[in-house]
Each structure stands twice: as structure tokens, then as C-alpha cells.
């Protein structure tokens, strides 16, 4: 049987990696040895950052909600407590969107949260 040499397969593999490394800095884009390392690391970062993205956005929304809440005399944590008491299930993304696009709507939400807090306080007293 004819001997099989690895040339074409190896070349294809190298090409795939080099293609994935397009736009990288320096030799990482053109030299296979460094390109594989870079591409593998990039894959690991991508996996991790798909998860951190969720946390990062949540942090951003919380900052926005906090700023908007303080315009209505509440702070973030009391606002969220008030929302829980009043049964409002808007998530943080939605709340921040409302704060940005519908100031009156957010004011109404803050008022409702405040009312729920007052009611709970009265019940406790």
C-alpha cells in the first residue's frame, strides 16, 4: 500500500488556525506556533466572557437604576425591596430601559415601590 504522508492535512489544519488568527498582533497572525496559542487562548476568553458579560451588564443596569431611583428619593436597594413587596417583576434590564426612555413611567414605579414600603412599615408597627 502506498505510504500516506501528512502534508495536505497538516497544511489544512495550519490554514484553519492562521485564518482564525486574522487581525492579531505581530507574529501571532502569521506564524503557526504562536497563532495556535493565541487562538486557543482566545477561545478560552470567549467562553469565560460570555459569562462575565451577563454580570457586567447587570452591574451597569444597577448603576443606572440607582441613579434614577435617587432622583425619586429612594436608593437602589430600598427600591428593589419595594418592588418585591409590590409584586412587580420587571428585571433590571427592563427597569433601566424604562428609566432611560420613560421618565414618568419610572417615577410611577418608584412611587408604587414607596407605597408598598410604607404599607409594610405600617403593618410592622
Amino acid at each position: 500500500m502506498a505510504r500516506v504522508k501528512g502534508g495536505p492535512r497538516a497544511h489544512a489544519r495550519h490554514r484553519k488556525v492562521i485564518k482564525a488568527a486574522k487581525g492579531y498582533y505581530g507574529r501571532r497572525k502569521s506564524c503557526f506556533r504562536t497563532a495556535v496559542q493565541a487562538v486557543e487562548k482566545a477561545g478560552q476568553y470567549a467562553y469565560r466572557d460570555r459569562r462575565t458579560k451577563k454580570r457586567d451588564f447587570r452591574k451597569l443596569w444597577i448603576q443606572r437604576i440607582n441613579a434614577a431611583a435617587r432622583m425619586h428619593g429612594l436608593k437602589y436597594s430600598t427600591l428593589m425591596h419595594g418592588l418585591k413587596l409590590s409584586g412587580i417583576e420587571l428585571d433590571r434590564k427592563s427597569l433601566s430601559e424604562i428609566a432611560i426612555h420613560d421618565e414618568k413611567g419610572f417615577e410611577a414605579i418608584a412611587k408604587q415601590a414607596q407605597a408598598a414600603l410604607d404599607k409594610a412599615e405600617k403593618a410592622a408597627a
Binding site: 478560552q44 467562553y47 412587580i88 420587571l90 427592563s94 424604562i98 408604587q112
Partner: protein
């Protein structure tokens, strides 16, 4: 502010465990719904619409949408590796999605 001048009524609807801010004629990608393309679906989990706040849902409010297509999201390459452990996993993933076009928002 500019967006005050062009403000359109929007609603916050929940589907597939996520909330979306929608306006009429918006196109949104949501987690796969069981409906054929061209059909109309009604999203009845409306949490906020036109200043009305649901506790948790706004009673009687609903959002109608046309199913534009059943599609799959961009391919994601899942690559895991642990160095010095000879551990490497590579897997592709495409999320099943439904593209919706909002046709009507009923504030009740």
C-alpha cells in the same frame, strides 16, 4: 430630550424567561416559540405598558406579533482547555430562535 419628541408607546413583555422592550413594528429575536412562520402569536405576559405597571402582569394587556421565521443564532464555538492537563473540548452551538415582528400592542 430627543427621544421625548419621537416617543412611541412601548411595552415590556416576557417570553422565554427574558424581558424585552418592544414597540410596534419592532423585530425581535426570542427563544424558540412553537409556531410556524407567518402565523400570529400573542404574548400575554406584559409587565409594563404605557405607564401601566403590572403586579406582576398588566391585566388584559397583550402584544401581538407575527412570526417572521424560525431560525438559529450565530454559531458559537465552545472551546475549553485546561493547560498541562491534556484537556481540550471543542463544540459548536447554535441557539434556536424565533424572529418576531410586533404588529400590535394592546394596553387594555
Amino acid at each position: 430630550m430627543f427621544h421625548d419628541l419621537v416617543r412611541k408607546m412601548f411595552a415590556i413583555v416576557r417570553t422565554g424567561g427574558k424581558q424585552y422592550r418592544v414597540q410596534k413594528d419592532d423585530k425581535i429575536e426570542v427563544e424558540k416559540l412553537d409556531a410556524e412562520a407567518g402565523k400570529t402569536v400573542e404574548l400575554d405576559e406584559v409587565l409594563f405598558v404605557d405607564g401601566k405597571i403590572g403586579e406582576p402582569l398588566v391585566k388584559g394587556a397583550s402584544v401581538k406579533a407575527k412570526v417572521v421565521e424560525q431560525t438559529r443564532g450565530e454559531k458559537i464555538t465552545i472551546f475549553k482547555k485546561k493547560r498541562r492537563q491534556n484537556y481540550r473540548r471543542k463544540k459548536g452551538h447554535r441557539q434556536n430562535l424565533t424572529v418576531l415582528q410586533i404588529t400590535d400592542i394592546k394596553a387594555a
